[in-house]
C-alpha cells in the first residue's frame, strides 16, 4: 500500500489526541460520578452502562468502518429496523424464525450492495445516496408492515439468550458488541483489505491511480455496515422482545455519527479505528447513565450532553489546531 503506512501513522498520532481528550473526560466523569453517586461504581452498574451502549456501540463500529473509507452510512438505522422487522414479518407466515433471520440478513446485504454500487459506481456522494436510500428503505418497510412495533415469536431459545444470557457474567449484548468491535479492529489493522480501506479513505484518487480496487472495497464496506446494523437490530430484539421501526425517526443515527466523530474518526476518512469508536461510546454511556441516576430532566440532559460533547471537540480544536498540513480536502 504505497504511501498509506507513513501518512496513516502520522494521522493516527494526531488523532489519538482527540481520543485522549475523550478518554480523559470519560475518566473524569467516571471519577466524579463514582464519588458522588451511590452504587455508580458497583459491578452491576458498570455492566448496565456497557449493556445500554451495546447497540449504539455496535452501530458505531459499522459507521466507523465506512467513515474510515471516507464514506458515511446514514442507512444504518433504517436497515436495522427494516431488516429485523422483515425477518419477524416473514416468520409470521410460518417460516422458522432462524431461517427468517437469515433471509433478513440476505435482504440487508442486498440493500448494502445497492448502496455500495450507488456510491462506488454511480458515484453519488455517500451522504446523499445513503440519505435517500434510508428513506426509501424505511418507507418500503412502512408500507409492508402494518404496525411500527413488531414482536418476535416467543420461545426462540437463541434469541432469549441474546437478550438475557451472559458469558462469564457479561451480558450477551456486550459480548456481541465486543466481538464485532474486536473483529473489526483486527480486520482493519491486520488484513490487507483493512489497509486498503485506509488507503481508499485517505486519498481515493491516489488509491485508484495506484491500481487499488477502490470500487469493490467501497461496495464491501456498505455490505458489511448493513450486516453490522442488522446484528445491532438482533441484539435489540433479544433485549426488548421486538423491534420498533419508529427508531428511524429518532436521533439514533446522529448519535451513532456523533460517537464516531467524537471518538476521533475524522469524516475526511483514512484515520482512526475501532479504539476511537469505543472511546466515544463509553463517554456517551457514562454520561447518560450518570444523568439518568441523577434524574435530570430530558431537556437538561440534552443540554449537558451537548455542552460536554461540544467541549470535547473544542478542547481538541485548541490542542490540535487544524492547518494546511493537517486538514485534508473533504474535511468537514
Amino acid at each position: 500500500m504505497p504511501g498509506s503506512g507513513k501518512s496513516d501513522g502520522r494521522r493516527l498520532g494526531f488523532k489519538a489526541s482527540q481520543e485522549v481528550v475523550v478518554v480523559a473526560i470519560s475518566v473524569m466523569l467516571f471519577v466524579v460520578f463514582s464519588a458522588t453517586l451511590n452504587n455508580f461504581l458497583s459491578r452491576g452498574n458498570v455492566i448496565a452502562i456497557l449493556k445500554n451502549v451495546s447497540i449504539l456501540g455496535t452501530l458505531a463500529v459499522g459507521m466507523g468502518f465506512v467513515v474510515v473509507g471516507r464514506g458515511i452510512d446514514l442507512t444504518m438505522v433504517a436497515v436495522m429496523v427494516v431488516g429485523v422487522a422483515f425477518s419477524i414479518w416473514i416468520s409470521t407466515w410460518g417460516i422458522d424464525f432462524t431461517l427468517a433471520v437469515i433471509c433478513g440478513a440476505i435482504l440487508v446485504a442486498v440493500i448494502g450492495l445497492f448502496t455500495g454500487v450507488m456510491v462506488a459506481v454511480a458515484e453519488v456522494p455517500p451522504i446523499f445516496a445513503t440519505l435517500a436510500i434510508a428513506s426509501s428503505v424505511y418507507g418500503s418497510g412502512r408500507i409492508v408492515f402494518a404496525s411500527d412495533v413488531l414482536y418476535a415469536p416467543p420461545d426462540i431459545a437463541w434469541l432469549k439468550f441474546v437478550g438475557n444470557g451472559s458469558v462469564l457474567g457479561i451480558p450477551m449484548s456486550v459480548v456481541i458488541f465486543g466481538a464485532v468491535a474486536a473483529l473489526m479492529g483486527l480486520f482493519l489493522r491486520k488484513t490487507r483489505f483493512g489497509r486498503l480501506v485506509y488507503a481508499t479513505g485517505d486519498n481515493p484518487n491516489a488509491a485508484r491511480t495506484t491500481g487499488l480496487p477502490t470500487r469493490p472495497i467501497i461496495v464491501t464496506q456498505y455490505v458489511i455496515s448493513a450486516l453490522i446494523a442488522f446484528t445491532a437490530g438482533i441484539i435489540m430484539t433479544g433485549l426488548v422482545t421486538g423491534i420498533d421501526t419508529r427508531l428511524y425517526n429518532s436521533s439514533l443515527i446522529y448519535d451513532v455519527l456523533l460517537v464516531v466523530v467524537l471518538g476521533g474518526i475524522g469524516l475526511s476518512g483514512g484515520q482512526g479505528g475501532v479504539r476511537n469508536v469505543i472511546a466515544g461510546t463509553i463517554l456517551v454511556g457514562i454520561l447518560t447513565n450518570g444523568m439518568t441516576i441523577l434524574n435530570f430532566s430530558y431537556t437538561s440532559q440534552n443540554l449537558i450532553k451537548s455542552v460536554i460533547l461540544l467541549g470535547a471537540l473544542a478542547i481538541d480544536a485548541i490542542i490540535n489546531p487544524r492547518d494546511e498540513q493537517t486538514s485534508q480536502s473533504g474535511d468537514i
Partner: protein, 338 residues
C-alpha cells in the same frame, strides 16, 4: 238479514282498517329520520391528521371510521405525517386549505397545532380531537381522561407500594413525550396520588419517548440504583415491555409491579402473559373509535351549527386488565375489527 248486513258491515270495516294499516306501514318502512341522516353524511369530506398510523390505536380507529364512511357515503382521508411534527403542520395547513367538512386530529403535543386549530374553526371547519388534546378546545374531544389515567396507574402502584408488606415505597414514572397531552395530564393525576400517599417515593421521572429500548435502558440503570424498587408506571404498553425486559433480566419480576396503559391490542395481553407487564389500563381503541364515529355523525348532521359553537367531551372506557382478564374483547386483533 239484519245479521247478514251487520256481518257485511263488520267485514267491510275490517277490510278498510286493514287497508289503512297497509298504507300506514308502507309510509313507515323508512326509518324515522334516516333519510335526512343519510343526506347529511353523503358526500361529506373528513380529513384525519394522526401522529402516526403505525400505532395500534390509530389502526383501530381508522378501521372503524372507514367502515362508517363506506356505509354512509362520506370520504375519510388520512394524512399521515409519520411522527414528524413539521410534516404534521404541513398536513394540517393543507387540510385547512381544502375546507373539508370535518378535520379529525391527534395532537403530537398541546402547542404545535393550537393556532392551526383556531384557524380551522375560524374558517368554519369543525374539528374533532382524538385521544391527544391541544391547548385549543374545539368542537369535540373523544379519548382518554388522562388525569384519571395517571390517578389509576399511580393508584395501582400505591396499592402495592404502601403498607407494611411493601418491599419499598420507591416508584418510577416512565414518561412519554413531555410536551404531549397524555404526559401533562397524567402527571396531574400522579401528583394527586403522590400527595395523598406521602410515603410513596418517586425515584425517577424520565421520558422513554414511547421507545421500548429507551424504557429498558432507564429501568436497567434505575434498578442498579434502587435494587429494592417496588413499582414502575408507564404510558404505552408497547414501550413498557422494555421496562419489563429489564426487570426480568434482573430477576425481579415478583418484586417490581409494572403498570401501564394501552389500546387493548392482543400484543399487550401477550406481554402480560409473558410476565413483562402486570397491569394495563386498557382504553380499548376500537370502542374509542366507535365513540368518535358517532361524533363524526353528530358533527356532520348539523352543518348549520357554527364550528366551535358547541364544545363537547367524551371520555372512553378504561378497563383494568391483568393476568385474570387478558382475554376476549380486552385483547383485540386488527382482523377482529374488520
Amino acid at each position: 238479514m239484519k245479521i247478514f248486513k251487520k256481518c257485511l258491515l263488520a267485514g267491510m270495516t275490517a277490510l278498510a282498517l286493514m287497508g289503512a294499516a297497509q298504507v300506514a306501514s308502507a309510509q313507515e318502512t323508512d326509518q324515522v329520520g334516516r333519510a335526512p341522516y343519510l343526506e347529511s353524511l353523503k358526500g361529506k369530506k373528513v380529513i384525519f391528521v394522526p401522529i402516526s398510523q403505525g400505532m395500534d390505536l390509530n389502526q383501530a380507529w381508522v378501521m372503524v371510521w372507514q367502515r362508517h364512511a363506506a356505509r354512509y357515503g362520506f370520504t375519510l382521508e388520512v394524512r399521515d405525517p409519520n411522527g414528524d411534527t413539521n410534516a404534521g403542520i404541513r398536513a394540517m395547513q393543507g387540510a385547512i386549505a381544502e375546507k373539508p367538512d370535518l378535520i379529525i386530529v391527534q395532537n403530537p403535543d398541546v402547542q404545535t397545532y393550537a393556532r392551526l386549530l383556531k384557524q380551522a374553526q375560524a374558517a368554519g371547519i369543525k374539528v374533532l380531537q382524538v385521544n391527544m388534546q391541544s391547548a385549543t378546545q374545539t368542537d369535540s374531544y373523544v379519548g382518554n381522561d388522562w388525569i384519571e389515567m395517571g390517578r389509576l396507574e399511580m393508584g395501582e402502584l400505591a396499592k402495592h407500594c404502601t403498607g407494611p408488606n411493601a418491599v419499598s415505597h420507591k416508584v418510577v414514572w416512565l414518561a412519554g413525550v413531555q410536551t404531549g397531552a397524555a404526559n401533562i395530564y397524567m402527571r396531574t393525576g400522579i401528583d394527586e396520588v403522590l400527595k395523598a400517599n406521602p410515603e410513596l417515593q418517586l425515584v425517577s421521572d424520565q421520558p422513554a419517548d414511547y421507545i421500548s429500548e429507551k424504557a429498558r435502558q432507564i429501568t436497567e440503570t434505575v434498578l442498579q440504583q434502587h435494587p429494592d424498587l417496588c413499582g414502575i408506571m408507564g404510558i404505552w404498553d408497547n414501550a413498557e415491555v422494555g421496562a419489563g425486559a429489564a426487570v426480568a433480566a434482573a430477576g425481579k419480576q415478583d418484586q417490581v409491579t409494572i403498570v401501564t396503559n394501552g389500546a387493548g391490542a392482543a400484543t399487550g395481553c401477550e406481554s402480560i402473559k409473558n410476565g413483562l407487564l402486570d397491569v394495563i389500563f386498557n382504553f380499548n381503541a376500537p370502542i374509542q373509535g366507535e365513540i368518535a364515529a358517532q361524533q363524526i355523525s353528530e358533527l356532520l348532521q348539523h352543518p348549520d351549527r357554527q364550528a366551535g359553537s358547541e364544545k363537547t367531551i367524551f371520555f372512553g372506557p378504561i378497563t383494568r386488565v391483568d393476568k385474570t382478564n387478558a382475554t376476549g374483547r380486552n385483547c383485540w386483533k386488527p382482523e377482529d375489527i374488520k
